[in-house]
Structure formats: C-alpha cells, structure tokens
C-alpha cells in the first residue's frame, strides 16, 4: 500500500500504556502497551474474544480503562474530536443518508453551504448519490457500512477506528470499502482496523497486531508480521489453525 510521504496534518502520538479493561470480575484486555505508528493502516488480528473490539473502544474512549492509560498528546476528549469510529454493526441515525452525512459537520458548526458541498462530495465518492435522500436505515448492509465510513471520514479525522467493517459483506462491497480505506490512508488518515479476514489484512496493512486472550502476542510491520511471524500462536492463526 502506498502511504503519503508528507502529510499536512500535525501527527499526534497515540496508543495505550499498561491498559487493562475488566468487566464483572473478568479481564477482557491487558495489560497491553501499544504505540501506533504515525501513518498507515494498522490491522488488529485475533480470534473471537481476543479483545480486539475492547482495545479499539478503549483507545477511542468508549470503554473505560480499569488500569493504565491512553497515550495521547492531548486530553482524551480533544483527541476524540480528531477521531472517527466505525462500528461492526453500523449505527444509522433515523434520518436520510444526506442528514446522516451532514450530522458530524452540524456538530462542528460547519456553515450549511460548506457542509452541503462536503455531503454531496462524499456521497459521490462512496457511490451513495442515488440514495442520498433515502432513509439511512433502509440501506443495504454494504451501503450502510459505506455511509458509516463516509460519516466518520467527512470530518477529515487524523485517526479512524474500524471494527470489522467488512464483516458479512459480499466481495464487491468489501472491495469498495477497501478502496475508500486506501484513499483515506493516502489522504493522511491514520487507520486502526480489526478483521478476521487474513487476506484482507495482507492487502491493507502497513503494520499489524496480533491479540490473543486479551494480550498483544505480536506486532510489527506488515511484511515481517505476515512473512515471518515469531510467536507460535501468530503462526497458527495465520495458517488458519483453530486456536483457543
């Protein structure tokens, strides 16, 4: 994947230090320490229940850490303003596609003319122009996911978290989402994404993290991670073995 060499947006350090998430007595994540590279697309891999979603939610401030901290140059609230999150089951506001796209800009008090222009541009970019005035909840799964991604990207965030954005999508929708992600990375957006799809991970990742039983077992640049995995769990997972 090509990553823009020079990016105009200021880059902030971001990650987790000794982060632990516990719920009802059981540890869902951690302790994990992770520093995100300043650019690129990080793929988080791991079996079900490994803590992938929990880690993304904790980094974005949706889930509270039981221990440790989110590493950021700014307070979490301010950092979140420069982030987006796309959920595995896309959450649609009960409004039109247009109103869904416009909502983040409305929150940012972007002038309506400017917002309308951005909405049209993103609808075109995501192929949603034909359904722009349709109710968002009536869209197909692929369209909903594209809308959720466009809504996250319309603010030009520095960092976007995606929780299995292509789960349950067909090949065509997956390819469209992947193209949008590649364009976003080229535009300078930092992406952290979970997936079960190893082929997709190979196609998109600039670096990868392998989570297993709530702990980071391996992480590194994509080439090394996929070609020379060091840990037996990672090797087994990448080969398609069932690991528990």
């Amino acid at each position: 994947m090509v990553v823009a060499a020079s990016l105009s947006a200021p880059r902030h350090h971001f990650g987790l230090r000794h982060a632990v998430v516990r719920r009802r007595g059981s540890t869902l994540l951690g302790p994990v320490t992770l520093a995100l590279p300043p650019v690129g697309l990080t793929i988080v891999l791991g079996p079900n229940g490994a803590g992938k979603t929990t880690m993304l939610r904790a980094m974005h401030g949706l889930d509270r850490l039981s221990e440790g901290e989110v590493l950021s140059d700014e307070p979490l609230q301010a950092a979140r303003r420069k982030q987006g999150f796309v959920f595995q089951s896309p959450i649609m506001l009960r409004r039109s596609v247009r109103a869904n796209l416009a909502y983040p800009l409305k929150l940012d008090r972007v002038p309506s003319g400017q917002a309308a222009e951005a909405v049209e541009r993103w609808a075109k970019r995501t192929g949603l122009t034909a359904v722009i005035d349709n109710p968002a909840p009536s869209l197909s799964g692929g369209e909903k996911q594209k809308l959720a991604l466009a809504r996250a990207l319309i603010r030009k965030p520095e960092l976007v978290f995606l929780d299995e954005p292509c789960a349950n999508l067909d090949g065509r929708s997956t390819r469209e989402i992947e193209e949008l992600l590649s364009e976003a990375v080229e535009d300078g957006t930092r992406i952290v994404m979970t997936t079960h799809n190893i082929a997709q991970a190979r196609r998109l990742a600039t670096d990868a993290v392998f989570l297993f039983q709530g702990l980071i077992h391996e992480q590194g640049p994509a080439d090394r991670f996929f070609d020379q995995p060091q840990r037996p769990e990672t090797q087994g997972f990448l080969k398609g073995d069932l690991i528990e």
Binding site: L62, Q83, F87, I91, L93, R95, P137
Partner: protein, 234 residues
C-alpha cells in the same frame, strides 16, 4: 339502546346546527386540553429524555416515582390544586380558582408524568441504539438530547397524544378547580356529568359522541400534519 340512538341523532343535530353552547364548550375543552398538552409536553419531553441519558444517584427512584405518578387520581390532584389556589391557600392571591387557567394547571399535573414516562421509555431504547455513535462523534449533552428528540419525534408525538387523550377525557380534577360554571369553565366532560345528573341521557350521550369525535379529529389532524405512517419514514 334507544338512548344511544337518540344520543346519536341529538349529536348529529347539535353538530349540523352549530349549536352555540356546544361550540362554546367544545372550543373551551380544546383550549384547556391543548394548552395543558403544550405546557406538559414542554416539561415532560426534555425531562423524559434527560432521564433516559443521565446517570445519577436517585435515577431509579426518580423513574419509579414518575411511573407511579402516571396513576395519580385526578380527583386528588383537583383537590390539592383547589387548596393551593383557594383564597386561604398560598396562591389564592392570584385569583385563579374557577378559571380555565386552574383547569389547565390541574391537567398539566395529571398528564406530565404520563408523557414523561412514555418519553423516557422511548428515549431509553433510542439512546441504547445511539449511545456509542453520539459519544464517538463527541456530541455535547445538549446535542445528544436534541438528536434523540429529533429522531424520536414520532414516538414523542404518540406520548403527547396519550397525554391529550387523558386531558380531554378528564373530569374529576377540572370539575373541582373549574366549578363547571356555565359560560366560564364548562367543558364537554363536565357538561356530560351535569346532564347525566339531570337525567338528560340523550344530551349527555350526544356530548359524549362529540367528545369522542373531537378527540379522534385532533389525533388524525396531528398525524396528518406530522406526516406519520408514510412510506419511507419512521
């Protein structure tokens, strides 16, 4: 059966002849109930929404109390408002007793918990859907409430209409605080009670049919104006 038939015929003639008394008390019924509805909705909708998204120490107790207040006996509400507004009461100086304003106050007290409780239930479900997205988008508390009210507006309309239904059909409280004074505080329900007491069942029934027709008409009108139940809408 004969009374019902006679009531229907009387109702028909009262309506087609634009009976002056009927028009007056019907308009007063609408004025009192719609005013109470607007005031109660202005209090109950933000309150119910706020309760749905805020976490505070006595939240459960507050919700339980709100639900319990849905069953407030109107006669007791009427009695309390009567005492508060009577000459010797704390608000006696305002001279509101036996006026439509007193009737509106009593109805606001009766229907606010009902609208707030239905709002809370609806908004709680919507908040469960929207929570992660609105937090992720950094929406302020005010923006969150606005988004919930905007997107849940059709459910809120139902809540308000339930309040209107209770208000327009209410008799106990407004009889006490309004006094059922002719040309002043008489409304459809108190007129029905009066005619029933006098033994004029046909007229009482006629007024009853007009009341039902009025309630249906207001509901239909509000649904039409708010464009609910149309294809492609929520």
């Amino acid at each position: 059966m004969n009374d019902i038939l006679q009531g229907l015929v009387s109702a028909f003639w009262l309506v087609v002849t634009f009976d002056a008394d009927l028009v007056e008390i019907s308009l007063r019924s609408l004025q009192v109930s719609l005013s109470a509805l607007v005031l109660a909705s202005a209090i109950a909708i933000p309150l119910g929404t706020w309760l749905a998204i805020r976490r505070f120490r006595y939240r459960r107790a507050t919700i339980a109390l709100l639900n319990a207040l849905m069953g407030l006996p109107p006669v007791v509400v009427g009695l309390i408002v009567y005492i508060l507004l009577s000459r010797s009461g704390p608000f006696g100086v305002l001279g509101l007793l036996f006026t439509p304003t007193a009737m509106i106050i009593a109805q606001v007290i009766i229907i606010t918990p009902l609208i707030a409780s239905i709002t809370h239930q609806a908004m709680r479900d919507l908040w469960a859907d929207y929570h992660d997205l609105l937090i992720s988008l950094n929406a302020s508390k005010r923006d969150r409430i606005a988004a919930l009210i905007m997107d849940g507006r059709r459910t809120l309309l139902t809540a308000s209409l339930a309040g209107f239904g209770r208000a327009i059909g209410e008799v106990g409280a407004i009889m006490i605080v309004g006094g059922n004074i002719d040309n002043a505080t008489r409304v459809l329900t108190t007129a029905i009670a009066l005619e029933t007491g006098k033994g004029d069942f046909a007229l009482a029934l006629a007024l009853g049919f007009v009341l039902i027709a009025l309630a249906i008409a207001v509901n239909v009108l509000i649904h039409v104006l708010s464009r609910t139940e149309r294809a492609g809408r929520w």
